[in-house]
C-alpha cells in the first residue's frame, strides 16, 4: 500500500486542515464510548431486583434466582439487586473493583413504547415538548461544544447514527470486517476533486482519510492473524478494534449492538438473553483491557431505548416497557454501586401497572456526567440537552 503517496495527495487537497484534524491524536485524554443496545433490552433480568417478592411472582419462568452457591444464581450487588450470572467473568469483577455503576429507572419520558420513536428521542437528546431538530444528535452537539481540539468523534457503524448527525460532520466506519481498499491514492484524490464544493465533499474526503487511519491501526492485528494467533470474534473483536483506534486517534466513539427485542422465549439465567449478555460483557471487558493505562480516563456508557414489561408474557418473553437500567463503566468511575433515584418494586410502584417508571431522566443524567468529565459549565450542558444536568456521582 502506498501510504506515503496517499498522505501527500491528501495534503494537497483544499481541505488539508480537515484532514489534519482527523489525523491528530486527541488532545484531551478523556474518552467516551457510547454503546447502544438496540431493541429495548430486558434490564430487569440484567440488574435483578432480588429483594422484590413480586419479581419472582411476575416471572415464574424467566426470573434469575437470588444470589447463592448455584452457578445460575444472580451475582451479589447489594441487598436489593443482583447481577445476571452471564456477566460472572467479565463485568462483575469490574463492578467489584469499583469500575462499574448501574443506574436503574433510567430513560426517556417518551412513552410511545416504539423502538424507533424512542431510539430517535434518545439519540436526539432534546426536550420532548419543544420543536425538535431531527438533524442534531447529542453526541454531535457534545463534539461541537468541546471543539476540534478536544473532541475527535467517530461512529463505528456502517451508517452514521442520528446521535452523531448534526452541525459537525463526523465520520463513520464499521469495524466488524475490514478489507483492503480497492481505490488507490491517485484515484482517491481525483474522486474527491469531483465532489469539489458539493454538499458531499467533506463526507468523501473524510471517508478516505478514516479508511487509511483504520488500516494503519489494524496492521498489528493482521500480522497477529498471519502468525496464527487466536483472534477474537464478534463483538469482542469489534470492541478491541474500537479500543485500538480510541487509544490513538479518537476520543468519542459510538457503537450499537442489536438483538434485544425478546418477545418470545428469552430464557432466564441461561438461554437467549443470557448469551447476548455474555457476548456484550466479553466485548466490554476486552475493550477495558485493550485500553490499558488509558482505561482510567475512559468512560463507557451502555444504554437501550427502554426496558420491558415487568411481568413475563404468555410466551416466556417480555413486551415493550419504559424505564431501563443504564451502565457506566471506566477506570475512573465511582462504581461498585447502584446509583440514582430508586424505588421498591411492587405491583403498585410499576409505571402504568406494567413496567419501570423513569426516575433518572437520561438527559439530566448525561448532562451531569459530561459536566464532570469535561468540566462543562451549566450553560454548555443546557445547550447540549436543553435541560440542567444532574450529578449522580458517577465519577
Amino acid at each position: 500500500m502506498k501510504r506515503r503517496t496517499l498522505l501527500q495527495s491528501l495534503a494537497a487537497l483544499p481541505v488539508a486542515t480537515m484532514a489534519g484534524k482527523l489525523w491528530a491524536a486527541p488532545a484531551s485524554k478523556t474518552r467516551l464510548l457510547f454503546v447502544f443496545m438496540r431493541g429495548g433490552y430486558d434490564a430487569t433480568n440484567l440488574l435483578v431486583p432480588i429483594s422484590s417478592q413480586f419479581y419472582y411472582q411476575a416471572r415464574p419462568n424467566i426470573a434469575v434466582p437470588k444470589p447463592g452457591d448455584d452457578l445460575n444464581a444472580a451475582l451479589p450487588v447489594n441487598a436489593d439487586w443482583g447481577l445476571h450470572p452471564a456477566l460472572r467473568e467479565t463485568i462483575h469483577p469490574l463492578f467489584t473493583i469499583g469500575q462499574v455503576a448501574f443506574v436503574p429507572f433510567a430513560g426517556t419520558e417518551d412513552i410511545s413504547r416504539s423502538h424507533f420513536e424512542t431510539q430517535d428521542s434518545i439519540e436526539l437528546g432534546q426536550a420532548l415538548d419543544g420543536t425538535r431538530d431531527y438533524r442534531s444528535g447529542f453526541l454531535n452537539r457534545l463534539a461541537t461544544t468541546l471543539n476540534a481540539d478536544r473532541a475527535n468523534a467517530i461512529s463505528f457503524t456502517d451508517q452514521l447514527p442520528l446521535i452523531m448527525q448534526g452541525g459537525a460532520q463526523l465520520p463513520n466506519m464499521a469495524l466488524r470486517s475490514i478489507g483492503k481498499p480497492g481505490v488507490d491514492a491517485r484515484q482517491a484524490k481525483m474522486i474527491a476533486s469531483m465532489y469539489g464544493d458539493t454538499a458531499l465533499a467533506r463526507q468523501v474526503r473524510d471517508g478516505f482519510v478514516v479508511r487509511e487511519d483504520v488500516m494503519k491501526e489494524m496492521i498489528g492485528e493482521m500480522d497477529a492473524a498471519n502468525r496464527n494467533a487466536i483472534t477474537a470474534k464478534g463483538f469482542e473483536l469489534e470492541a478491541r478494534r474500537i479500543a485500538k483506534l480510541m487509544k490513538e486517534k479518537y476520543n468519542i466513539g459510538f457503537v450499537d449492538v442489536g438483538g434485544w427485542d425478546t418477545h418470545v422465549g428469552q430464557g432466564g439465567a441461561t438461554g437467549y438473553l443470557a448469551r447476548r449478555f455474555e457476548e456484550l460483557g466479553r466485548g466490554l471487558a476486552a475493550y477495558a483491557k485493550e485500553m490499558g493505562p488509558d482505561w482510567k480516563d475512559t468512560v463507557v456508557v451502555v444504554v437501550s431505548e427502554f426496558g420491558r414489561t415487568f411481568r413475563e408474557n404468555g410466551n416466556r418473553g417480555t413486551d415493550h416497557g419504559h424505564g431501563s437500567v443504564y451502565w457506566v463503566l471506566g477506570g475512573g468511575v465511582a462504581g461498585g454501586r447502584v446509583r440514582g433515584e430508586q424505588i421498591r418494586l411492587e405491583q403498585n410502584t410499576l409505571f402504568q401497572n406494567r413496567d419501570y417508571p423513569v426516575l433518572n431522566e437520561y438527559r439530566a443524567m448525561f448532562g451531569g456526567l459530561f459536566a464532570r468529565m469535561y468540566g462543562l459549565d451549566a450553560g454548555q450542558v443546557e445547550r447540549i440537552f436543553g435541560t440542567k444536568g444532574q450529578d449522580l456521582g458517577l465519577i
Binding site: P171, P181, L200
Partner: protein
C-alpha cells in the same frame, strides 16, 4: 388461494361502495406530466431502477406520458430469455412453497434422529446451507427483475413495499418464506389497492411469524404485530392511537397464525365452523379472544376472523394512513423533505380512490414538484448498485447476482436483511456518511473495471463470459454528458484507461443521485 378470495372480497367491497358513490374507478385518462423533453433521461432514472440505453429508446419511441402510463398499469412482464432462464432454474420456481417447506421441515426433523455427533453437526450445516441457498435465490430473482423487467415501476414499488412491510430473513425459517412473501403477497398488489396489500401481508406466514403473531392467543397476548401494524404499516406513530388500541388490536389478532404442516389442530366442536386454512395461513378459533373490543374509538363485536377484516378496513381507510403512506412515497420518489402541499394532494387522491396506489403515484409523478426534483434525490445503496449495473451493461444479462448481493451486504442494505421492522431509511442522511461513500467508490471500481464477477457462473465448473462495461455509449453522449458538472468532466478527461474512466463516472456525484 388467498389471492383469489381477496380479489373477490375487494371487488365486492368496491361494488358496495359504488352504490354509495364512494368508489372511484382507478383508471384516469393519461395526464400530461410536468416533465420537459430535456428531462426525459432524468425522469426515467427516477421512475425506473435507473436509466439505461434501452429504456431511454423505448420511452423516446412512445413518448414519456404513454411510457409512464404503461408503468403505472403494466401488462404481465416478459423478461429477456437469459434472465428468465435463471429464474426458471430456481428451486423456488420449481417447487410450490408448501412442498418446499415440508421437505425442509422433514430434513430438520431427521436431524433429531441422528445419534452420531459429527453426522448431526454436518446434517445441521447442510440444513442451514439449504435455507441460505433458498433465500439467496429469492434475492437473486428480485435483482434480476429490478435489472431487466420492462415493468420497472412495479419492481421499484415491490422493493418499496417490501421495505415498508419489512421482514427479516434471519428469524426462524423465514429464509424459505421471503421469496413467496415478495412474489405472492407484495408484488401483485404493489400498484393496486393498499387495503389488498395490507391484507395480503397480514395473511402471509412471513409476517405472522416475523412479528410473533403466531404466539398471540387469548389470555396470552403478544402485542408485537399489533403495535407495528399501526405504527409502521398504517397510521404512523403520530396517527392518534393509544396503548389501549395496541392491546385491543392484539386481542383482535389472536388466533391469526400459520400452519406449515399437513395436519389440523383440534378445535372445539362449537367453533369448528370458524376454523380457516388458506395455504399456510391459519385462523385457529381455539386461540381467539371472542370478547368484544373497542378499537380506535369504536366497538368491535367479538366474532372471529371477521374482526380482523374490520380492523384492516378501519386502518387502511383512516386519514392518518393516507397521509402517512403518501408522505413516505413522496420521500422515496421526490425529496427527503417533500413539499407538504404535494403530500396533501396525494393523500386526497388516496382517500378518493380508496387507496389506489397507482392513482396516488400518478398525482405525484405528474406534479411540478416531481419534475423540479429530478437529479436531486440521493440513491440508497440498492438504488446505487442496481442503477450502476443497468447503466453499465444495459440489456446484456448478467450471469451472477452474487457480487451485487455482497455489495448490498457491505453497504448494510441487503434484501430481506433489515433486522428491525421499520425498514431501511429512505433519506440521504441514512446513506451518505463517509464510510458509506468510500464503500461506494470501491464498488464503482469493481463494476467499472469489468472484473467484478457478474458474468462468472456459480457451480462446480464456473465459466466466465467476457463482458466489458459499455458506459461511453449513445445514451451517455446524447444526454448524460450534458448533466455532468465541470469537475466531473475534468476528472474523466484525466482517466488513464477505459476502466478508470468507468470508475470515475460511476463514482461521480451525478451518479449518486437520481
Amino acid at each position: 388461494m388467498p389471492t383469489l378470495s381477496m380479489r373477490i372480497g375487494s371487488l365486492a367491497a368496491c361494488a358496495a361502495l359504488l352504490i354509495l358513490g364512494g368508489c372511484t374507478t382507478p383508471y384516469q385518462a393519461p395526464a400530461t406530466s410536468a416533465v420537459k423533453p430535456d428531462q426525459l433521461a432524468g425522469a426515467l432514472n427516477r421512475v425506473s431502477w435507473g436509466v439505461n440505453q434501452s429504456t431511454w429508446q423505448q420511452a423516446e419511441k412512445v413518448g414519456y406520458d404513454t411510457w409512464l402510463d404503461r408503468q403505472l398499469h403494466p401488462s404481465p412482464a416478459v423478461l429477456p430469455p437469459a434472465a428468465q432462464a435463471q429464474i426458471d432454474a430456481m428451486t423456488i420456481t420449481q417447487k410450490p412453497l408448501q412442498q418446499l417447506i415440508q421437505e425442509l421441515d422433514q430434513q430438520r426433523k431427521d436431524i433429531d434422529k441422528i445419534t452420531v455427533d459429527d453426522d448431526k453437526k454436518s446434517a445441521q450445516q447442510a440444513y442451514q446451507q439449504e435455507l441460505n441457498r433458498v433465500a439467496k435465490e429469492a434475492a437473486a430473482r428480485s435483482l434480476l427483475r429490478d435489472l431487466y423487467s420492462p415493468n420497472q415501476l412495479q419492481e421499484q414499488m415491490t422493493w418499496f413495499w417490501m421495505n415498508h412491510f419489512s421482514v427479516h430473513q434471519g428469524k426462524s425459517n423465514l429464509r424459505v418464506l421471503v421469496g413467496d412473501y415478495e412474489d405472492k403477497a407484495v408484488r401483485p398488489h404493489a400498484l393496486g389497492k393498499f387495503r389488498d396489500l395490507l391484507a395480503a401481508t397480514l395473511r402471509h406466514p412471513a409476517m405472522i411469524r416475523y412479528l410473533d403473531n403466531e404466539q398471540n392467543a387469548a389470555n396470552r397476548i403478544n402485542e408485537n404485530y399489533a403495535r407495528e401494524l399501526m405504527e409502521l404499516h398504517t397510521l404512523g406513530v403520530d396517527g392518534g392511537y393509544s396503548q389501549r388500541d395496541v392491546q385491543e388490536l392484539a386481542r383482535i389478532l389472536t388466533g391469526v397464525g400459520v400452519n406449515l404442516g399437513t395436519g389440523e389442530p383440534k378445535v372445539k366442536k362449537e367453533l369448528q365452523a370458524q376454523y380457516v386454512r388458506q395455504g399456510l395461513f391459519e385462523f385457529n378459533p381455539n386461540r381467539h379472544d371472542y370478547g368484544d373490543k373497542e378499537f380506535l374509538g369504536q366497538a368491535v363485536k367479538g366474532r372471529g376472523l371477521a374482526e380482523v377484516d374490520e380492523a384492516i378496513d378501519r386502518l387502511s381507510r383512516h386519514p392518518a394512513t393516507a397521509r402517512f403512506i403518501s408522505r413516505k412515497l413522496a420521500v422515496y420518489f421526490v425529496a427527503d423533505e417533500p413539499p407538504p402541499a404535494l403530500v396533501e394532494r396525494m393523500a386526497a387522491t388516496f382517500a378518493s380512490s380508496d387507496g389506489d396506489i397507482a392513482a396516488v403515484l400518478r398525482t405525484m409523478f405528474t406534479s411540478d414538484d416531481f419534475a423540479q426534483s429530478l437529479g436531486r434525490k440521493f440513491k440508497d445503496p440498492v438504488h446505487y448498485v442496481v442503477s450502476a449495473v443497468r447503466l453499465t451493461y444495459d440489456d446484456k444479462v448478467i450471469l451472477n447476482t452474487g457480487p451485487m448481493l455482497s455489495w448490498l451486504n457491505r453497504m448494510a442494505e441487503p434484501l430481506y436483511g433489515r433486522q428491525t421492522p421499520d425498514g431501511y431509511p429512505l433519506t440521504e442522511s441514512g446513506w451518505a456518511s463517509p464510510g458509506q461513500m468510500t464503500t461506494r467508490f470501491e464498488i464503482a471500481k469493481a463494476i467499472g473495471s469489468g472484473n467484478a464477477g457478474l458474468f462468472k457462473t456459480d457451480g462446480p465448473q464456473p465459466t466466465e463470459r467476457a463482458a466489458f462495461p459499455q458506459l461511453a455509449n449513445a445514451l451517455y453522449y446524447h444526454t448524460l454528458q450534458k448533466n455532468l458538472g465541470q469537475p466531473t468532466r475534468q476528472v474523466l478527461e484525466q482517466a488513464t484507461s477505459p476502466q478508470e474512466w468507468n470508475t470515475f463516472l460511476l463514482s461521480s456525484p451525478e451518479l449518486m443521485h437520481r
